[in-house]
Subunit: 295 residues, 2 copies
């Protein structure tokens, strides 16, 4: 029934934006015979079934977990410990457990201890997603051409790692292996800081007096609206990201604030050359992203 | 030859991204019989002629300006004073002079004194554009469904204002009348701060050690890349924006920094409720922008 990369049964724990999109990808690529959602929200279960994303949706781990060759945990990072306690007793030897969390050290710390011996625990993070939430926001092809970072812990079974990697490659992702600490440092810069800044700037605007706020919305195409998309991302997911990657995030906020203060000073003192030089350097980064086909 | 909103000859001063896109729009909508570019860069003149954007391109104001019913100044705000000195002596009574600058008080201050009596000076700002520069980046339809802000000074001729407004409406823009000071305050929030923040965050990343910078580019789809697009905008144009709207920009940086510091503190002290509440509020702003069809 299974080959190198496909699974008989895949259990998706939390059928939100990412796991719902993964369900679509697994079906489209023939990588799972049967999909089961373990989900505490009855409305999300109803939507997932109605959309045909999964074959079964239940809040009972004893029904969902045993017999699954792959379990994908797609819940906010702050819920990993609790999910681990719920699914751990039902996991059987040989199963691969992965996750989709945006922080990896915290997942290793919180989910890891609940994984029994003989179960292959391979934390992961797909660099894909939109600002939308819930199973109804599933996107066909979400992972195609995107990176899938896997952060195996020491002693991980090579065959299990290769099997999971091959699954993601068949979905259309490029797989990158990284250690959890390095992941959290890189993502603090590429993802966590940008989200925090976007939340901040949109928050600054939302604190304005009524008439000014109305105009900010009206004229948002002048730059502001680019920030509002990512500031519409799931609040609980992002609360957990910042709380669980605290040290790395605080470090990059510090760097950012120093750089902003330098530009602020250049504006105050009319230092045109400093501004122009800084603004010229940043163009090169954009070009590099376009060249890397990530634009 | 002309009706309410069309012109016999339109002179575009500086044939960059905005004026080149305007040339396309004027032609497409039959709003100008003849288009002349006044441009000091020989390469930009060559491209503009080769693309058929204009009928004539010259660096001689005595050829370009006299006889134009409309003169549109599309140069960085810091060059307005110099352009005023160059075109002023060639302007004739009845001509309408407008501009496309992102700051309006500075344009009134620097360009205004060069406009002779009898010439109608109506500063403007199209809320449209991409991160690209130069005439080759002209976009057909750039202004359709976007706002055109006009900031007439006291005593502006009503007929001239209506004629210019009607031209923009025929191009497909919605016209908003505003006083220059209010414009600069609103745009400091919706445009100038977002651009400064984007330049800062991309600059922070470009200061990283080589291997980390490589990974930032590789995994930029996780949020960072949304900032790099606007941080690729024209460096000279943006240098001038910050220098010429200094007070309003410094005021919003201050607000932003306070808000960022509050979130930083909430992260440090693990105040999850504060974070979640802030991140929930910002979702409403995104919805309002989508409802206003500016997304």
């Amino acid at each position: 029934m299974t080959d190198e990369s496909s699974f008989d049964t895949v259990c998706l724990v939390g059928i939100g934006h990412i796991c719902a999109s993964l369900a679509v990808a697994l079906r489209r690529n023939g990588l799972a015979r049967r999909l089961v959602a373990l989900e505490i929200d009855p409305e999300a279960r109803r939507v997932a079934l109605e959309m045909g994303l999964v074959d079964e949706a239940t809040d009972d781990p004893a029904r969902a977990v045993p017999g699954a060759g792959l379990v994908v945990v797609g819940v906010p990072v702050g819920a990993m410990e609790q999910v681990g306690a719920v699914i751990g007793p039902h996991l059987t030897a040989g199963t691969i457990v992965t996750d989709t969390g945006s922080v990896k050290q915290a997942v290793v710390r919180d989910l890891g201890p609940h994984i029994p011996d003989g179960v292959h625990f391979i934390p992961g993070h797909p660099i894909a997603g939109t600002e939308h939430s819930g199973p109804s926001s599933a996107v066909d092809g979400l992972f195609v051409g995107r990176w899938q970072i896997l952060t195996p812990v020491p002693g991980t079974d090579e065959a299990a790692l290769e099997r999971l990697s091959e699954m993601w490659r068949r979905i259309g992702s490029d797989v990158e292996i990284m250690d959890p600490q390095h992941h959290d440092k890189v993502l603090a810069i590429t993802s966590h800081l940008p989200h925090l800044i976007a939340y901040t700037i949109v928050g600054t605007a939302s604190d304005l007096e009524g008439h000014l706020q109305h105009e900010v919305i009206k004229f948002s195409a002048s730059g502001f609206r680019d920030f509002t998309r990512i500031a519409a991302s799931d609040p609980v997911m992002w609360r957990d990201v910042f709380l669980s990657n605290r040290e790395a995030v605080l470090e990059v906020i510090q760097r950012f604030t120093e750089d902003l203060t330098a530009l602020q000073r250049a504006i105050r003192w009319g230092e045109g050359e400093t501004l122009q030089q800084k603004f010229t350097e940043t163009r090169a980064i954009r070009r590099a992203i376009i060249d890397a086909r990530q634009a």
